[in-house]
């Protein structure tokens, strides 16, 4: 049975094999679609909605790059990846860009041969406790039972933090975030620890989110960054500067609402003019046209708009900007100059 499946797929495989491996930018242009790796589903960061359309903070990066390169924010083939398959999918060329809340670390950058193109979300490990526990700082957690996902960096961070502060804890090992939520709500542990953004979205799913607090201490650095393959610097530049364009747009006050007006003719601010292509030839240097950044910003808005729409304080996830505010507002976002 189903020999035909085999035949049909062989035909497709044969046709697809004709595409040679040139530069990724040319490949994407020739294909007319950006293959973008995302998670199989993480609240606020990437998930298909009821109509099957991908939405989320990481998804917005894919759409911005597709808009800049292909002039169409919907020309994205979303390839769902898990924590285990994401790096092979990128290394084998199945995807062009991986935007999957991946922490930028030395070994991933150097040893696994990837190119991180800039941080789109500064995360860090935090603690959630029930309000009734009356704890206001992680340093008061001496002797607490802690729900912790096994085999993750969060487990190591936890051990480091408690040793450094000379306090003790008792781990309750769990396998998945869903299990963690159940155990924590059932009172099997005093506190649940994972990335702060994960804690926030988990808390948002609780019946009474107000009964739980996320402690102010962030005990690790988790810069989440989109990445591409090592060795194709032209493509890495496109991804890096698309992300920078979104960040710079917020700093310069360019939004999805006013970007088309501002790009219609050169204004007073030389940097905005260069960003939006009314002055200079930045797009051309990268192998794109002058309006690349205009399209990237129009696709989903600037960084601030994307943040507010997907994970900001008015969404169920309700994350504050915190470290992810512009440098002018005391955050870490700092796009290099467009010059």
């Amino acid at each position: 049975m189903k020999k035909s499946v085999f035949l049909g797929a062989l035909t497709i495989a044969g046709l697809a094999a004709g595409v040679a491996a040139a530069g990724t930018l040319d490949d994407v242009k020739a294909r007319g679609k950006l293959n973008c790796g995302v998670t199989t589903g993480l609240v606020g960061f990437a998930a298909p909605d009821a109509n099957g359309e991908w939405k989320g903070f990481d998804v917005a990066v894919c759409r911005a790059v597709a808009a800049a390169v292909l002039n169409d924010p919907t020309a994205v083939e979303f390839v769902p990846t898990t924590g285990k398959t994401r790096f092979t999918a990128l290394a084998s060329g199945e995807i062009d860009l991986l935007a999957r809340n991946t922490t930028w670390t030395f070994s991933r950058d150097v040893d696994l041969k990837f190119e991180f193109v800039g941080v789109n979300y500064y995360d860090g490990q935090g603690f959630m406790v029930p309000k009734s526990l009356g704890v206001s700082s992680a340093k008061e957690l001496d002797g607490a039972t802690v729900c912790i996902q096994t085999g993750t960096t969060t487990e190591l961070n936890l051990a480091d933090y408690f040793r450094k502060n000379n306090i003790s804890y008792e781990p309750v090992p769990i396998e998945t975030s869903a299990e963690g939520a159940q155990q924590y709500l059932a009172g099997a542990c005093d506190t649940y620890t994972t990335d702060a953004s994960g804690l926030a979205s988990l808390r948002a799913s609780f019946e009474n989110p107000g009964d739980h607090v996320i402690l102010p201490e962030i005990i690790s650095k988790e810069p989440l960054a989109p990445l591409v393959r090592h060795g194709d610097n032209e493509w890495a530049d496109v991804a890096r500067w698309t992300l920078n364009a979104l960040i710079a747009a917020e700093e310069l006050g360019v939004t999805s609402a006013n970007v088309n007006d501002m790009a219609a003719e050169a204004g007073n601010s030389p940097e905005i003019n260069r960003l939006l292509g009314t002055e200079g030839n930045l797009g051309e240097m990268m192998g794109l046209d002058a309006k690349w950044a205009v399209r990237a910003i129009a696709a989903g808005g600037n960084y601030g708009e994307i943040f507010e729409k997907n994970i900001g304080e008015n969404t169920p996830i309700g994350l504050a900007r915190g470290l992810n505010a512009q440098w002018t507002d005391g955050g870490l976002l700092y796009a290099p100059p467009f010059r």
Partner: protein, 432 residues
């Protein structure tokens, strides 16, 4: 003479006593209860304890299930409706029904296509499963795989047509030469099929219209329970013939064939299925030329089929070993050659013995199809774990979704198991 007797006995009963109804404690409902539930004090105590346990379970679940909410658009709304009452939020099933069944990317105007294929599946499977039905129905069964492929994947009709033609060509050659020499017929048949398929590879793109009757749907757009059904049905039906071939190969007198079979079976059985799936998903991509997208469903079908055939081969080997040696000798003494003796004498008996084992593997295999969710395919479990639980609307609904998945799988697996029991009764495999 009779008189004397009559006078010597005070009373003789001349009619039978009319049958009295059984005592009320021994018959009817009461009798059944006494015999089965309250036979002794210990049994009575156990019965009451069991009833209490059942009451506790039902008291906890029934209000939760019956009081469920079916019409809201998100978990938050659901909780507002419930106002702190503990009840199920089944709205997630109604709102995401299509995603649970078909995945989130199958175009909704084409939902009728896999649905029709599903209905036709029963029609095609019926003559295979129930051999009292007219044999002519098997013709439809032979056409069904190609029809189902065309319905679900769409695209040009010529691809499945040529695939079928290849098989027909192979069968014709085999039929022509197989009688004289099995090997010539077999290899010739395979060669003929390959020739047709290679030709089709050139012809189909030329004659395929740009606007096919059923627009094509990509493999990666398949999902939901449909994907579990596709994988389960295809892999079970493919692994049975492969399993038989492997089992026979393992008993073959030809060393090369025997070694290949043994190595294949032992290697596949020694590796976890999830490892094979990771190989299919991740490692194969390194060996293929860059840019190639060798259909992921096809890769997974190949891996699951390999896995299941190795297990089925061992089950059937058990059936073969259970046959008395006399059966083999009887076949030889009748002058049957290998193929004939296997087809007419050995396999019908061996397969009959193996039915429970084969069904066991099939049920396990069907449930194992949910493992594909780990390699980022959105089957029923993948849809639940990924997109649905990750949407901000439904983040936090676990019991309802996984309960629904369990019910779907239970219905399917229970159906398979009931059929196999019917088949065993029908064939009466026990030698009483």
């Amino acid at each position: 003479m009779s008189d004397t007797h009559a006078e010597s006995v005070a009373y003789v009963r001349e009619t039978a006593i009319p049958p009295a109804p059984a005592p009320v404690t021994e018959a009817g409902v009461v009798g059944w209860l006494r015999q089965n539930l309250f036979a002794t004090w210990a049994n009575a105590a156990l019965t009451i304890a069991a009833l209490y346990a059942i009451y506790l379970v039902l008291a906890a679940t029934l209000p939760w299930v019956l009081g469920g909410v079916w019409t809201t658009d998100s978990l938050t709304e659901c909780r507002e409706v419930l106002q702190g009452r503990s009840a199920a939020c089944f709205s997630v099933l109604t709102e995401r029904w299509n995603q649970l069944i078909f995945g989130f990317k199958y175009p909704d105007e084409f939902y009728w296509r896999p649905s029709l294929a599903f209905v036709l599946l029963f029609l095609a499977a019926a003559p295979v499963l129930f051999f009292d039905l007219p044999r002519k129905l098997l013709l439809f069964t032979a056409v069904y795989p190609f029809l189902a492929y065309w319905l679900i994947w769409g695209g040009t009709i010529w691809a499945p047509v040529f695939a079928a033609l290849g098989l027909v060509a192979g069968y014709v050659i085999f039929d022509r030469f197989g009688n004289q020499n099995f090997a010539t017929g077999f290899l010739g048949g395979i060669a003929a099929a390959l020739v047709v398929w290679i030709l089709a590879d050139y012809i189909v793109p030329l004659i395929a219209s740009d606007d096919p009757l059923l627009p094509a749907v990509q493999s990666r757009d398949m999902g939901g329970f449909m994907l579990n059904m596709i994988l389960g049905v295809v892999c079970v039906s493919l692994s049975l013939p492969f399993g038989i071939a492997l089992a026979l190969g393992r008993q073959s007198n030809m060393p090369l064939i025997r070694w290949i079979s043994v190595v294949f079976i032992e290697f596949i059985r020694g590796v976890p299925l999830i490892t094979l799936l990771f190989v299919a998903n991740v490692v194969l991509a390194y060996f293929l030329p860059p840019g190639t997208s060798f259909d992921l469903i096809l890769r997974v079908i190949i891996m699951i089929t390999m896995f299941a055939s190795a297990y089925i081969a061992e089950v059937i080997r058990g059936g073969l070993a259970a046959l008395p040696k006399g059966q083999y000798e009887a076949a030889d003494s009748l002058g049957l050659d290998y193929a004939q003796s296997m087809r007419l004498i050995i396999l019908p008996q061996a397969l009959k013995i193996s039915i429970p084992g084969i069904v066991n593997v099939s049920v396990g295999l069907f449930k194992d199809t949910t493992l594909v969710s780990i390699i980022t395919m959105f089957d029923l479990v993948g849809m639940i774990r990924g997109p649905i639980l990750a949407s901000s609307d439904w983040n936090g609904v676990y019991w309802e979704l996984f309960g629904f998945a369990s019910v779907l799988f239970f219905i399917t697996c229970y159906g398979i198991s009931q059929y196999s029991q019917w088949l065993e009764r029908r064939l009466t495999t026990d030698h009483r």
